[in-house]
């Protein structure tokens, strides 16, 4: 299993098309893992780019961490990973909370980002939406685990139930993830986002609770385009081929 040891955590990553000249770095959301990209979206991008996927700390196969789930720390983790992989600049894509991490990184280090893609990121001020996002994420895991075409909860095997239970128990009860996410509630209004210079693609589900966040980001970011696709917050699972191709076209720069 490929891992990179960062100062505080061991990070699991997957790379595709390693020899390509340019890199797309992809950040998943809270309570999911890199598999949200791995099977469909990343291989489309890997037709042209070196693709790097990683599990955020506390998620997937990365190490656990009790602290540091705020955007500054998560952005530090992303930047440390780039340094470890000797990536000076990347095309950056983030889903849900991962999109907020991508935005934060673009604000702090615009020179390290070539273009920015934000998929279904909520406005952290809308805590209700954040909660809905949590629920969606849990359903998404159930969806992955059970292979259900619809999103109805279905029975899960004992081992998976225990795995899920341990993950949520740890993240929600033993780590600071809740408080860390809450402290970001003014992220959209604190400034910074309006100074993002990058060409930015915003991708949102037509039926998502996060649509208003997409509209707000479109208004704040000077060079942003908003793309709606069929579905709700789960669009990476519902429309992976649409999203993969939209990202590939967006990142492509004509020389």
């Amino acid at each position: 299993m490929p891992v990179v040891d960062l100062p505080h955590t061991r990070i699991h990553l997957q790379e595709m098309n390693k020899g390509a000249a340019e890199t797309v770095l992809m950040v998943h959301g809270m309570f999911t893992n890199l598999s949200i990209w791995y099977f469909n979206i990343a291989p489309i991008l890997a037709e042209r780019y070196h693709v790097v996927l990683y599990d955020l700390k506390g998620h997937g196969m990365s190490g656990r961490s009790q602290h540091g789930y705020d955007l500054q720390s998560m952005s530090d983790e992303l930047l440390a990973l780039m340094d470890a992989l000797q990536l000076t600049s990347v095309y950056l894509a983030g889903y849900s909370y991962g999109g907020l991490i991508a935005l934060k990184t673009a604000i702090r280090h615009p020179e390290k980002i070539k273009k920015l893609a934000v998929i279904e990121s909520p406005n952290p001020y809308e805590q209700e939406t954040m909660n809905v996002v949590d629920v969606y994420s849990k359903e998404l895991l159930v969806h992955f685990v059970n292979g259900q075409g619809d999103h109805s909860p279905a029975k899960m095997g004992k081992r998976q139930l225990e795995r899920r239970h341990r993950l949520y128990e740890f993240l929600l009860k033993e780590s600071t993830i809740r408080q860390d996410m809450q402290q970001e509630r003014h992220f959209f209004s604190n400034g910074g986002i309006k100074d993002i210079p990058h060409e930015t693609l915003l991708i949102y589900g037509k039926d998502s609770d996060c649509v208003s966040a997409g509209l707000e980001l479109q208004e704040k970011i000077k060079d942003a385009r908003l793309l709606f696709v069929n579905g709700d917050h789960n669009i990476p699972v519902q429309e992976p081929f649409t999203i993969g191709n939209a990202l590939k076209d967006f990142f492509y720069t004509q020389e």
Partner: protein, 99 residues
């Protein structure tokens, strides 16, 4: 178990134990003891594997059977529902088709 192996030399009966070994490494020996792993076993319904475990399994298949088998490329043509309902027989047949 991750050393490169020439698939041309392997039959279905030889591939299946290798896949079983990978599943054991991914989900843990204590859970495999309770499972009857056969060619008909599917990732989620029978083996209770979730998507990140399927990623780990895929990586082992790629490392073991080598670049002639584009396992991730094969999976990328399927949607997630198809991937997680794959069984070990499907994967064995795919590996053999690359011979």
């Amino acid at each position: 178990m991750d050393q490169l192996t020439q698939p041309a030399k392997l039959s279905e009966a030889e591939i299946l134990p290798v896949l079983k070994q990978f599943i054991t490494e991914v989900i843990g020996e204590e859970f495999v003891e309770d499972l009857d792993i056969t060619a008909a076993s599917s990732f989620t319904k029978d083996l209770e594997m979730d998507s990140i475990e399927i990623v780990a399994f895929s990586e082992k298949v790629k490392n073991h059977f080598g670049k002639d088998i584009d396992f991730t490329g094969w999976l990328s043509n399927m949607d997630l529902d198809q991937i997680i309902s794959l069984n070990l027989g499907d994967i064995t047949k795919y590996i053999q088709s690359c011979l």
